[in-house]
């Protein structure tokens, strides 16, 4: 048995295990899918960087055996933007949570999509602020109980696929942590896209979201995902908003092409400056 090695282990910093995630949490499942996608898509691991923000999902950067950056709360996308622009050869993945990306980092999310920066964003959406103890997020569904809305959430939530499509993303998909094969496939597809890709993964937080809302444990949530998810590729993103116990529309919603930021910059500079435009040299300054 000793020669049996988990195929995803090569992507993990095993010297950092055990991880901090709770039993039943879905983040580890998404990392497994991410690793499967790396195997399937044969991405060059040396030129792959993972950038995370703050929160439970923000810890992903610390566990993957890749060049990895655990940045400040909400700012994974602008950090990743600088990294990508300085070294366009890098494949840059932003791996963070719903609160980090869409609340404190919401402005950067829409502007990166607008610019069509070549980033692959994996947004693990557990519908709550988990690291800090279960506060309301911009994604928390109506009527849910949280520690900061103890009588129920009444403010409308973000429909993230709709938001990023409107802002300009070229690839938008949503799965749950029940859809492990589909998720891995979507991540592989995103690696083939040039431009701003956004994959939302609905994921349980049994410790805070499910428990407070009497939605059962991790297994109950898998059953819910299985029963209530409906795959609708190409669904209009305006129709994929989430409720607490209703249907979850999953699938690939957007797959389109438009020039990414660096292609547009090169085109504009060449048009305006002609031969004087100095194509960005290798920036490594040592």
């Amino acid at each position: 048995m000793s020669d049996l090695v988990n195929p995803v282990e090569q992507f993990l910093r095993s010297d950092r295990m055990p991880h901090i995630w709770c039993p039943g949490c879905g983040i580890g499942t998404t990392v497994n899918c991410f690793a499967q996608a790396l195997i399937e898509s044969k991405v060059d691991l040396e030129s792959l960087a993972v950038v995370s923000g703050i929160g439970c999902t923000g810890r992903v950067a610390g566990y993957v055996k890749l060049d990895s950056f655990h940045t400040t709360h909400g700012r994974a996308i602008p950090f990743a933007t600088g990294l990508k622009l300085a070294n366009p050869k890098l494949n840059v993945v932003v791996y963070s949570g719903d609160g980090d990306l869409s609340a404190i980092g919401g402005n950067h999310l829409i502007h990166a999509a607008r610019r069509n920066i070549d980033l692959k964003v994996i947004c693990v959406n557990n519908l709550i602020y988990a690291m800090t103890g279960g506060q309301t997020a911009p994604t928390t569904p109506d009527h849910a109980i949280t520690s900061t809305n103890p009588y129920g959430v009444f403010e409308p939530s973000f429909n993230l696929p709709h938001l990023v499509e409107a802002a300009g993303a070229v690839y938008v998909a949503r799965w749950t942590t029940f859809h492990v094969r589909q998720l891995a496939r979507s991540i592989s597809e995103a690696f083939k896209k040039k431009g701003f890709s956004f994959i939302e993964v609905i994921s349980p937080c049994p410790t805070l979201y499910q428990r407070r809302n009497k939605l059962g444990d991790g297994l109950d949530t898998m059953k819910y995902y299985k029963e209530k998810s409906k795959t609708r590729h190409g669904a209009p993103t305006s129709e994929v908003g989430l409720t607490m116990t209703g249907e979850i529309i999953v699938g690939k919603f957007v797959d389109r092409d438009r020039p990414d930021y660096q292609t547009m910059m090169r085109g504009q500079m060449t048009e305006s400056l002609g031969d004087k435009f100095a194509e960005q040299a290798e920036m490594v300054c040592s």
Partner: protein, 385 residues
């Protein structure tokens, strides 16, 4: 190593401080800037946006200063020398990322062209009231370096110095201009590239298996690797060990935070630059920096005409504060006079370093203009008694 000639605009120019700062950054090897428009600093990045496509590099205008101040750090870890430019309100928004740069030891430069505050304050008028913010603005214990130019020529020369110090110590360097210096136009001489010394990144030569991202050998400054080179390293703003892994114990915190402080403090004498004139035998020394040093020069001249023995100490490095120099002078002089465009910031440092051995007189100004030389003269006369 010598500057890359592609970024060096050799010649004699008539140029304002903001533009000279941009030319200094290009000469120092900066090939990436992220910015957000804010008066009176925007001219620095406007010039960079115009110059960089023909030099080879990138300027990106971000959605806010929060973004600009971390985008540049992503670029540094991608291999670039990078900076951002702002003024008071934007500088306030950048504080968290100054802390991130200090904690992750990301070499970079933050330019602050100071205007009157607090809040929106005086967008087009000068102040020197961000000096303590530059030192203490982010939470937690850390050290930074801050330089204060007093002319367009120094905006060029010291911007190169700022990048060099950032690379040598792997620390964010604050370049503390003020509105007058930024908008003042004077002669700026840019030497040939082969006469400009540039400090290269302290890049590791170790093998992947030997490399410890935050391991140090005596000099307290770790060697850096860039993304995409195969090192598969981790960077975090959490308290971390030599591997760069989070380790939130008091022991690791103590070791890390003390090293971040000591790598600068132990080199403070070397980093502390100042201009000293006739301090020997002086009764009073006027301590000033930035645009105020040029007004103070006139006041010192007027005082000397009256037969007073007045020395001058112009701070070029504000942080780490040259406390040793002040302590030496305090043993010999009656008093220090400290004019500045704020209600008393660096004067507190002078007073602390003088440790009661000499008196300290502030000449405060709320900003929006500069002192009248006579206002400084009056305090010099009083201090000389």
């Amino acid at each position: 190593m010598k500057a890359d000639p592609r970024g060096v605009l050799t010649g004699t120019h008539f140029m304002d401080g903001d533009h000279a700062c941009c030319e200094g950054a290009l000469a120092a090897g900066a090939r990436f800037a992220a910015g957000y428009p804010i008066t009176p600093s925007t001219e620095v990045v406007e010039r960079f946006a115009s110059r960089i496509p023909t030099v080879g590099g990138t300027f990106i205008q971000m959605e806010d200063e929060l973004a600009a101040s971390i985008t540049l750090q992503g670029a540094v870890w991608g291999g670039a020398k990078a900076f951002t430019v702002t003024s008071g309100p934007g500088f306030s928004l950048m504080m968290e990322h100054i802390g991130y740069a200090a904690m992750t030891e990301t070499p970079c430069v933050f330019v602050d062209v100071q205007r009157g505050g607090p809040s929106t304050g005086l967008p087009t008028l000068p102040a020197q009231a961000d000096m303590m913010q530059a030192r203490w603005g982010s939470h937690g214990d850390y050290e930074i370096i801050a330089l204060c130019p007093n002319s367009p020529q120094e905006c060029f020369d010291l911007t190169i110095k700022a990048f060099n110090l950032a690379e040598e110590f792997r620390v964010p360097v604050m370049f503390m201009m003020d509105e007058v210096v930024g908008h003042m136009t004077e002669k700026v001489v840019i030497p040939p590239a082969d006469q400009i010394e540039v400090v290269p990144r302290k890049h590791t030569h170790k093998s992947v298996s030997e490399y410890l991202p935050y391991g140090t050998n005596g000099d307290m400054v770790p060697e850096i690797a860039h993304a995409g080179e195969g090192y598969k390293f981790h960077v975090t703003g959490l308290t971390h060990d030599e591997r760069g892994y989070p380790n939130m114990t008091p022991q690791v915190q103590d070791k890390l935070v003390r090293r971040l402080q000591n790598k600068i403090r132990s080199a403070a004498d070397r980093i502390a630059l100042f201009e000293e004139e006739q301090t020997e035998g002086a009764d009073v020394v006027v301590v000033s920096y930035g645009i105020t040093s040029r007004v103070a020069q006139r006041a010192i001249g007027l005082a000397r005409e009256r037969g007073l023995r007045i020395g001058k100490l112009r701070l070029i490095t504000a942080w780490p504060f040259p406390e040793k120099k002040i302590a030496e002078l305090a043993a010999c002089v009656k008093a220090f006079v400290v004019p500045e465009l704020n209600l008393g910031q660096m004067v507190r440092e002078v007073e602390r370093a003088a440790a009661g051995k000499a008196r300290t007189f502030a000449v405060s100004h709320a900003g929006g203009g500069v002192h009248k030389p006579e206002e400084i003269l009056k305090v010099i006369v009083e201090a000389s008694r």
